[in-house]
Amino acid sequence: MGKLLAVTIIVIAILSAIPVVMHTWEAPADVSTHGPMIDSQMWDTMIEAGVSFLAAQILLAIFIWQFSKPRPGGKLKTFPGGAKGLVLAAIVLVGVEVLALGAFGAKAWATVYFTPPAPDALPVQVQAGQFAFYFRYPGADGKFGPIHPELINEANQNLFGLDPEHDVESRDDIVTAEMVIPVNKEIHLLMHAKDVSHSFYVPALRIHQDFVPGLDLSVHFTATKIGKYEIACSQLCGLGHYNMRAFLEVMSPKDYDDWIKKQAAEQ
């Protein structure tokens, strides 16, 4: 019975590792400038976690195989080096391993969160509400008009609560249901929630940030490949959470200019 358990543990460990090694299920390919650092950090961690996982499971299996045999009258043996060696190994090896992961991971985190957006980054505002994202571009004046929550009215299509009659900056603001950005241009995404918490998760962009009601948050990123990508909400926001999504379309600069002009004309 002990041998069967040992074999089962090893078979499970190997079967568990195969889809990872074979890249059977993977995140959408990265299309951001900061994504390679995150991907590299993930795979470095996968190697360290994978080695720890396999080593622990195999060692466990070997000892179960070896020492579950009935040995009447047999002598007990003590692990070479005793507890001190194992505790030392855990503190030194695992300690160094996790500190290294933490240090390199901090660098990847810093590239996303500790650097300010470039001064010429394109500002785009995103508002999350049950169960849709809406986007706003500042228009020709480069300024967003103020939001008046009391004026938000989906029935009247005043999605951001704008008051163009009184607010000059609002008059040229462009509101869309799809996010369109130029390729290789840094985007400064200004985020706010209309009602409850939501999240802005674009796996292909390696961007993930919650919307927190009451807080204005921002992230910045640069997309490197033309295409259409999905924006998913990952923070439970109500019954339509599973269906709350939008598309991010990355265009060539010329196509983007054409698109934004067309949107401005339609507002």
Binding site: T8, V20, F67, K75, V112, Y113, H208
Partner: protein
């Protein structure tokens, strides 16, 4: 001549009526069994809810027979609506975390065995102890009433993030009365756990019998003591948080709701609250709660293993200090649940490093277990199989923590199935394996009858393989960006993952069905199992010196005297036994080790 007992220390008389004996009992053993039975009912409910969820996730448009009858609005024509899915998910998690994973390994086993293992006749405050169970049962009943209010249970998940949980019924079905019921139930639950934790701590500090120094306490007693220290501080934070949440609903306060929110084109009449305040309060409780669920498991596994390895652990202190380190660090790491929640990004790093450091005590415990297996005379039985399975699961669930401890990687994995796989393996399945191991190990003592060993082994094998089939794929799903808490998968990048979800659903249904073997074995053994001897596993701790089941006053009105720690295995004795019980004055002739 050695003393084997001291003067009687009767603290309360024998129960004289049926009600006093079986219902409103102050006997810690009866209370422990009451907690166990509550967890039993709760786990069956939680599992059935998970079946319904898994059927829906595998085959979203499938009609589930009978579901329309149970929830006419939530399942028209038997097809589950997205809101019902979220409501079942919220109730599944709440029931499992609070009424199974906290109740069974801590409150149930702890109540039954902590006083016995410390050599006490009962806990110091038996009436508070009785109250703690009845308060917990009340909390459970209150929670279940959420199924019967008009909008049903809340759908905000067991974390119930504000403002979704604080705004009221405008936020969605179940967010009015259902959410208030949820918060009320948890607030009541906290009272029960605080009373229980106080009793546990006092028992260990004040009620130990003669000779039972702290160093001689078995692993389980230490684990329950550490858990109760966590419980005292963690539930003391959750309780006010739930009160504030209720006030936001019923008293017009705005603790968790900021100004300027708009729902259905109407301004929400709140201002001045903080969304993140709820998250900080919840996770300050929530992360220690993970360890409240798992530390008793570490104790049970150590206790079961040392008995079945027939040798002492390589280092008792390493395990105990590691459990303390886990408990201490659990308060310093809670922010890793909030890496992308809008905290200052420097805070994320401050929470990341202690989270990574928590790997060290976890690794020490695992290595001491594995190192102790080396050269042991391991006995394979249902209890030890589940203990060994616990180690495998604890490792598998633990290594995914390497990823989630790093904010940069959390950008990809936050709120995905990777997280669901991680906590289900380490907190759900591993903790359940601890509960199963404890059940097979202590059932003879608790009920006076042996469980069927063959059925126990079949239960282990099918559960071990089945749970891996369910929860390992969760990691692959998360790796591919599969967001959690989705009632269906409509995004293009998620559609290719649906076959994997179907595989998981089949595995979950089959593994769930396997639990019927356990339920049958439990009930049948309770009624018809072979009579259990006092010490069926040749253990050393004090629960094995008394008859099975023990009398109402544990040690027959006499306090035992202890001469050894509980690790006296692999020794040579005059009688030929390879162990010495804690209350035996016999000294080992020589250790078999290197003899």
């Amino acid at each position: 001549m050695h003393e084997t007992s001291v003067a009687p220390a009767v603290r309360h008389g024998p129960p004289t009526t049926f009600l006093r004996k079986h219902v409103f009992s102050t006997d810690h053993k009866v209370i422990g069994i009451q907690y166990y039975h509550l967890a039993f009912v709760a786990v069956v409910m939680g599992m059935v809810l998970s079946w319904l969820m898994r059927i829906h996730l595998g085959w979203t448009n499938a009609a589930i027979p009978g579901l329309q009858t149970l929830s006419p609005n939530g399942a028209p024509a038997g097809v589950m609506t997205p809101e019902l899915y979220l409501q079942l998910m919220t109730m599944h998690a709440t029931i499992m975390v609070f009424f199974v994973l906290t109740t069974a390994p801590f409150a149930a086993f702890g109540n039954y065995f902590l006083p016995i293992q410390t050599g006490a006749e009962d806990m110091p405050f038996p009436h508070f102890n009785m109250m703690s169970f009845w308060v917990t049962l009340t909390a459970f009943c209150v929670l279940i009433t959420a199924f019967f209010v008009s909008d049903g249970p809340p759908l905000a998940g067991w974390t119930s993030y504000a403002p979704l949980s604080a705004i009221g019924k405008a936020a969605g079905p179940g967010q009015g009365a259902g959410q208030v019921i949820w918060a009320t139930a948890l607030g009541i639950f906290c009272i029960g756990q605080l009373l229980g934790s106080l009793n546990f701590i006092s028992t260990v500090l004040d009620m130990r019998c003669k000779g039972m120094t702290l160093n001689r306490l078995p692993y389980t007693a230490w684990a329950w003591f550490i858990t109760s220290c966590m419980g005292l501080t963690a539930f003391a934070v959750l309780m006010p948080a739930t009160i504030l949440l209720i006030l936001d609903h019923v008293a017009g306060t705005s603790f968790f709701v900021p100004s300027g929110l708009v729902l259905n084109d109407q301004l929400v009449p709140h201002s001045g609250g903080s969304t993140l305040l709820w998250q900080h309060l919840f996770w300050f409780f929530g992360h220690p709660e993970v360890y409240i669920a798992i530390v008793p498991g570490l104790g049970i596994v150590s206790h079961v293993l040392v008995t079945n390895m027939r040798r002492p652990m390589l280092s008792t202190k390493a395990i105990l200090y590691s459990m303390w380190a886990l408990a201490f660090l659990s308060y310093m790491v809670y922010g890793h649940h909030m890496f992308v929640s809008g905290m200052n990004p420097f805070s994320s790093l401050a929470f990341s490093f202690p989270t990574l450091m928590i790997t060290i005590p976890s690794t020490i415990v695992v290595l001491i277990w594995i190192g102790s297996l080396y050269g042991a005379k391991l006995r394979i039985n249902s209890a030890s199989l589940f203990a060994l399975g616990f180690i495998s699961m604890f490792v598998s669930g633990g290594v995914s923590g390497f990823f989630l401890a790093q904010p940069s990687i959390d950008i990809m994995l936050h709120a995905t199935y990777f997280v669901v796989g991680h906590f289900h393996m380490v907190m759900g399945v591993a903790a359940m394996f601890g509960i199963f191991s404890g059940t097979y190990f202590w059932f003879p003592k608790m009920y006076g009858r042996m469980m069927n060993e063959t059925l126990g082994r079949i239960h282990f094998w099918l559960t071990f393989v089945g749970t891996y089939c369910i929860f390992m794929p969760f990691h692959y799903l998360g790796w591919a960006g599969n967001v959690r808490r989705y009632a269906a998968f409509t995004d293009d990048f998620l559609k290719p993952l649906i076959p994997l979800h179907q595989f998981v659903s089949v595995a979950a249904l089959l593994t769930g069905a396997v639990q019927l073997i356990f339920i049958y074995n439990f009930i049948n053994s309770r009624l018809r199992g072979a009579p259990a001897p006092a010490n069926p596993w040749e253990g050393t701790s004090l629960e094995w010196i008394m008859p099975s089941p023990p009398p109402w006053n544990n040690f027959g009105g006499k306090d035992p005297v202890v001469y050894h720690d509980a690790d006296q295995y692999g020794v040579r004795t005059a009688s030929g036994a390879d162990y010495i019980m804690q209350n035996s004055p016999e000294m080992p002739l020589a250790t078999a080790d290197g003899d």
